[in-house]
Symmetry: none
Subunit: 232 residues, 2 copies
DNA sequence: ATCGCGCGTTAAAAAATGTTAAAGCTGCTA
DNA sequence: TAGCAGCTTTAACATTTTTTAACGCGCGAT
């Protein structure tokens, strides 16, 4: 399967540097479009989406900060990397609060630029996978495993780590039996007598938290484990 | 493919300590050669290249500073770590500007020595191939690891080194659990009780800095570590 | 039915963490 | 070199989380 090329928007007013960069990035497998000021770049951006933006801060007509702000207003996920002059004062970078992912100071090594791009893209990708389905609906409850939060009618119950991990396993096995030993090995790394009793204590706690919705039940399967029955 | 072992040059005149160190490092997978003075060490160095140098400063015939200088003159990249006596004044080391990567004071813990070696080697490696991302977006905050700055609504909070390093590790593991011990070994080189408590103090500080955005949370995972949960 | 074992539940004990402040260090400056 | 300022560690105490203990009940096999 032919992999989709990453489209790079490059906004750089120095034609010399810009051309070199574009050539370099194209050689590295990126589909790079060069624009010599923020205005042109934004016009192009509106016509077609890009996967990555490299923006020089100091440009005529429309500077890099403004351009980045406009792009961010439209899309808060697309990675943005700034090119800054070495002379730029720290306080100027202060305004650099609009969700740029990184910056690099001129003059820079093109390999380093590439390395940073890759790091950002890798991270963005990982971020998407991470934030997958960690949120479950349990009857009228909502459980956010990542935040360790159990929400019911706009009131939030913070869960402890153990509570959250146990509820997470139960949710993954909703309406199925969660085996005691499995859970113990997963959370306590060892199914000893005391850990088993500890788990029972947590089951009791979860029942308390979940008692507001009678259609949700946490029932025991004698000698086997527990089952989270969600009402619907 | 068999991985190439890291070759370590160890210059230490105390034969007792030197032998123990060599044995320890060899057990940890480093190919270690021991020399009892700077002269012998440099002769060996000219014959074959090393990947890492551990040099005692006070040695007969040719002292550690001289040896390090000679090695640096030949190769400005090879990592050098000094062993110093406790009595040695800080300012003597400071004046020595021959590109040592670190030093450790006798008597030292061998695990700590190893941890520092690993840190230095990791940095050297990272610098070459994959310079890491250093600007992170944490909810409505922007964290610049390089400048040790935490920016929110165009107001800057300067961070101390420890704060910045810890936040950096947390960001690299955003929405994942950062293991306590990992962080301690990375930043404090040693996970002792007091270092762990120190880390807790820094966690509290970071929480204060980050409290302006309620969608950002720094939650504890009991007995394991911490997790930086970013809004979005 | 009844006996043993697994489970429900609550509370106390133990361990880990939260938080604040003071003590220790280091580098800088007058 | 004394003193100050910033940073880190240590100390002390508060709070939270987890584990252990204790007691009682009910399921299920005999």
């Amino acid at each position: 399967m032919p992999e989709e090329k990453t489209k790079v928007l490059l906004a750089e007013d120095d034609k010399n540097l810009g051309t070199i960069l574009r050539t370099y990035l194209n050689a590295k497998g990126y589909e790079t479009s060069l624009y010599v000021n923020g205005d042109e770049a934004f016009k192009a951006y509106r016509k077609e989406p890009f996967d990555f933006c490299i923006i020089d801060i100091m440009m005529p007509v429309k500077d890099g900060f403004t351009l980045a702000g406009e792009i961010r207003a439209d899309n808060e996920d697309v990675p943005i990397l700034f090119l800054t002059a070495k002379s730029m004062q720290e306080d100027k970078l202060k305004g650099f609060d609009l969700g740029a992912d990184d910056y690099i100071t001129k003059p820079f090594n093109m390999d380093e630029l590439l390395a940073r791009m890759k790091a950002i893209l890798r991270r963005a990708k990982a971020g998407k996978e991470d934030s997958e389905k960690q949120v479950f609906n349990i009857g009228s409850y909502t459980f956010d495993h990542n935040r360790q939060l159990l929400i019911h009618n706009s009131n939030e119950q913070k869960l402890t780590s153990r509570e959250s991990e146990l509820l997470y396993l139960l949710c993954k096995n909703a309406n199925q039996v969660l085996d005691r030993r499995e859970a113990l090995k997963e959370i306590w790394y060892d199914d000893s007598y005391f850990n088993a009793r500890s788990m029972d204590v947590y089951i009791a706690k979860l029942r308390k938290y979940l008692k507001s919705d009678p259609s949700v039940e946490l029932i025991n399967v004698h000698g086997i484990g527990f089952k989270l029955v969600t009402g619907k």
